[in-house]
């Protein structure tokens, strides 16, 4: 279980790979060292043994030859020195034979041969000593016969000595061949284990490379997509990826999801804003249209009033001249009163319309206020984005650290770790890219925030302007009420008067009297109409200003939308 857990992280895999390679190399080294030391010590032992045996057999052969030579010499010389030399040589043979027989490296056959040499040496020495005794007693013929009898064991002695040397040489030849065979076998073992280790290392290396390479490529791809603004969910697949990369992948998934959510929200908000601004714009246009209509009407009214006033002045002169004495009669007064009521109704109708316009303005004001609130919300959201960007930055800095550690581990692993070093470098670059992407996101978010705050401030300005516009509209409504009332009265009265003037010349004098009052009122009316026109113009300008603000809002919303549209969600 623990081993499987260890395999789930990059670090674990690196360690497992290193351990696997060492586990292969250690037996190779052990077998190699063991084989070398065994072979070396065996060679040493065998050579030392061979050297000792050869030295002893060579010494033995020499001593045997000395013994025989001095023994033969004594038969003719019979001096004490030769006797001593013979004894010394015999003692040497005895000594060497004993040493040889006790050599531990001697084979069984050779040991028995050494034992036989001892017996033969005893015989040779005794037979010569016996021959010497006979010779000393002045009996040369039996002495020579006895000496001759010593030659058989002496020859045998020489042969046995040579046989030992030969047997030993053969034995060591066989040992050398055996050693060679053993070395070959061990070499094959070492080679087999080496090949096995190499195959194992390669398998582990490739497996490790694959297990790391694919996830890193996928993560890189995901990071590149994020950098290009593609925030669509594309899971970095593979449950088999190392722990650290899996964590990174999950973190990137989360970053993507959060960014996706934020951008979607942003787009939605900007859509809302654009919609609101569109509404605002439409209302402003309607207002502008109605204001312009009012203005046109007023201009016409004003022109009519002027013309009327002129006509009235002329007719008044004539009426005054014609029927200065014409007085107001009660019918006309009743008609005028009835007309006044009509005018009052009309004016009330206009006043309602203006009131509706004012309430529309109030609605616009509340819409603008809600847009401002939403812009503030947007600003708060951008702070949340900052937090996530911070998270990404932390992850990338940890990944960077991790990559550095991996590079150090790889350097420790030496030549074998160079592949891991490349991987570590890749991981580090990925971390850098993540950090850069995070920085870019930070910049974007800051830009969004800046612009959002601009929108917010614009909204505040718009709100106050809309408020002012409302007040103006209310004032205009009131003025309009009066104007409409007056205009309708005038119109109706004028029409009545004209009809009366045309229909009843007799009533002209009365009319003339009435006209005087009417002319005064008409002058008043004209001034009022001018006043209304000015107010209406003023309202138009405000409405245009509002329309311009609405357009600006629309443009800003479009920009916001375009910015958000840069992200694919």
């Amino acid at each position: 279980m623990k081993g499987l857990t260890a395999l789930k992280t990059l670090r674990g895999r690196i360690i497992v790979a290193a351990v696997t390679v060492s586990a292969g190399l250690i037996p190779v080294a052990l077998i190699g060292v063991g084989a070398l030391s065994t072979i070396a010590s065996t060679i040493q032992t065998e050579l030392t043994g061979l050297q000792r045996v050869t030295t002893l057999t060579a010494g033995l052969a020499g001593a045997v030859s000395d013994e025989i030579r001095h023994a033969e010499q004594y038969l003719t010389a019979r001096d004490d020195d030769t006797a001593d030399l013979f004894r010394a040589a015999a003692a040497a043979v005895y000594q060497l034979q004993r040493e040889l027989a006790r050599l531990p490296e001697l084979g069984e056959e050779e040991r028995q041969a050494a034992s036989r040499i001892g017996g033969l040496q005893a015989q040779v020495e005794v037979r010569y000593a016996y021959a010497h005794a006979l010779s000393d007693l002045g009996r040369p013929e039996p002495a020579v016969a006895a000496a001759r009898s010593a030659r058989t064991p002496a020859d045998q002695l020489t042969r046995e000595t040579k046989a030992i040397t030969t047997a030993e040489t053969e034995r060591y030849g066989a040992a050398a061949a055996r050693l060679g065979g053993a070395a070959q076998r061990r070499l094959r073992w070492v080679l087999a284990v080496l090949i096995l280790t190499a195959a194992l290392s390669a398998t582990v290396g490739v497996t490790f490379y694959r297990s790391v390479d694919r996830p890193i490529r996928e993560l890189l791809e995901a990071a590149r997509r994020f950098a290009d603004g593609d925030l669509r969910p594309a899971p970095v697949a593979g449950t088999r990826m190392p722990g650290e990369l899996a964590e990174l992948s999950v973190a990137m998934e989360r970053v993507g999801a959060r960014l996706r959510g934020m951008v979607a929200e942003l787009i939605e908000e900007s859509d809302h804003m654009a919609e609101t601004a569109g509404d605002l714009s439409a209302v402003s246009e309607e207002l502008a249209a109605s204001a312009s209509e009012i203005t046109t009407a007023m201009v016409e009214i004003s022109g009519g009033a002027d013309r009327q006033s002129g006509g009235l002045d002329q007719s008044m002169v004539q009426v005054e001249r014609l029927a200065a004495a014409t007085s107001l009669n009660a019918d006309v007064a009743r008609n005028v009163a009835r007309l006044g009521g009509d005018i009052h109704r009309l004016a009330a109708g206009h006043s309602r319309e203006i009131g509706q316009a004012a309430s529309t303005l109030t609605e616009v004001q509340s819409i603008v206020e809600s847009a401002a609130t939403q812009a503030e919300q947007l600003q708060r959201l951008s702070v949340t984005i900052d937090d996530f960007v911070d998270l990404i930055k932390r992850i990338s800095s940890q990944t960077n650290l991790l990559a550095l550690n991996a590079a150090i581990e790889a350097a420790r692993a030496g030549e074998r770790g160079s592949g891991f070093a490349v991987v570590a470098e890749e991981v580090r670059q990925l971390a850098d890219s993540s950090a850069q992407a995070a920085d870019q996101v930070t910049d974007s978010v800051q830009a969004i925030r800046r612009q959002t705050s601009e929108v917010a401030s614009t909204m505040v300005a718009g709100r106050s302007k809309v408020g002012r516009l409302g007040a103006v509209a209310t004032g205009a409504a009131r003025a309009l009420e009066e104007i409409v009332k007056g205009v309708q009265e005038i119109e109706q009265a004028a029409q009545q008067v004209t009809t009366e003037a045309v229909a009843n010349l007799q009533a002209a004098r009365e009319v003339g009297t009435v006209l005087r009052g009417v002319a005064a009122a008409a002058g008043q009316h004209a001034a009022s109409a001018e006043e209304v026109t000015a107010a209406a113009e003023e309202q138009g300008a405000s409405t245009e200003e509002m329309a311009a603000q609405a357009n600006q809002l629309i443009q800003f919303a479009e920009r916001l939308k375009k910015l958000a549209g840069g992200f694919r969600v």
Partner: protein, 390 residues
Amino acid sequence: MLPPDVTRSGRPSTARPPRRSRIGLVAGLTLAAACGGSDPIRIGLTGPFEEPRAQSLRLAVELAVREINDSGGVRGRPLELVIEDDHGNAERAVETARRFYADPAVVAVVGHLASGTTLAASSVYNGGLNPLPVISPSASSPVLTDAGPYTFRVCPTDLVHGTRLAAWATAQLRATRAAVLYLNDDYGRGVRSVFIREFTGRNGQIVADDPYLEDLPSFLPYLERIRRRGGADVLLIAGTRTGAERILATLDSATLRPAVMGGDGLAGIEAAGAAAEGVFISTAYLPDRPGTRNAAFVRAYRAAYPKQDPDHRGAAGYDAIHLLARAIAEAGADRAKVRDYLATVGTSTPAFEGVTGRIAFDEHGDVPDKDVVIGLVHGGRLVTAPERRP
């Protein structure tokens, strides 16, 4: 494996396959063992049992085994002797040692009788993975000191014999001229060289120093040459009883009458009749050695083998068996444990008080404390030689 014995030996007696003789002996001794049931503990016994010099060894060892088995064996198990004949020959001794070694039930060996055979066989006993402890009753060559950690002996070395003989010759026999005839093997050479060194060290003169083998045509030329050189006060025979008997028989022909002396190789010569009378023999043991243990042993020996006395080999073999019984009882029936125990006898464990005296091993498996006595063949028996009053 080695070829069969028959092909190696010229002697007709060796044609008898040793294995058959061994089985026969084993069966007989197992029956003699009074302890039933448990597996017997095997102890090897070897020597040249066809020769008279090895008879006492075999009889005394068999006596010791009987005594031990009669009293309940060792650790409740009877001892069983496995007897092999080494024919007094180094090659055959090696073969014998191999057979003992190959039988894992054999925990120790008593043998071989002579220095040459013990030395040759020691390479087998001390080698291999499961070395076998061996106690020689009578191999006295100084060379044996370094034969190996599994080789022990319960007799003094030739150095002690040679020294004691030279001292006796000069102090007791007042000899100034000595002739030496030595058997040309490890034993003979050992006794001879120490004697010559010690005798010349006491201002003695060596007038002859001649080697022989049992197949020497005649000792007469050596003896005649000694006479021509002016004779000798003492003649040292550094060899065995066989050669010594021939030399004694030849002395009259050479008209020589020196005092004759020899090492323990001459033991048994007292049975050779009048010619052997008056011969001095250095020996680690004499039946008339004082002490109750020895008296009991001699009594038991004479009871078992009427009209016979134990020699130094028999007494030493008897001690070796009792010592091994103690070692097995203390350490267990295991080769290495027996060896390790023997090595401590006289140091960390008490010395063994045997019929031949006190046995305390030194680091070479020798018994340096043991001395030899000079015996004299008198009336057909070997008795302690009387010392001349100064």
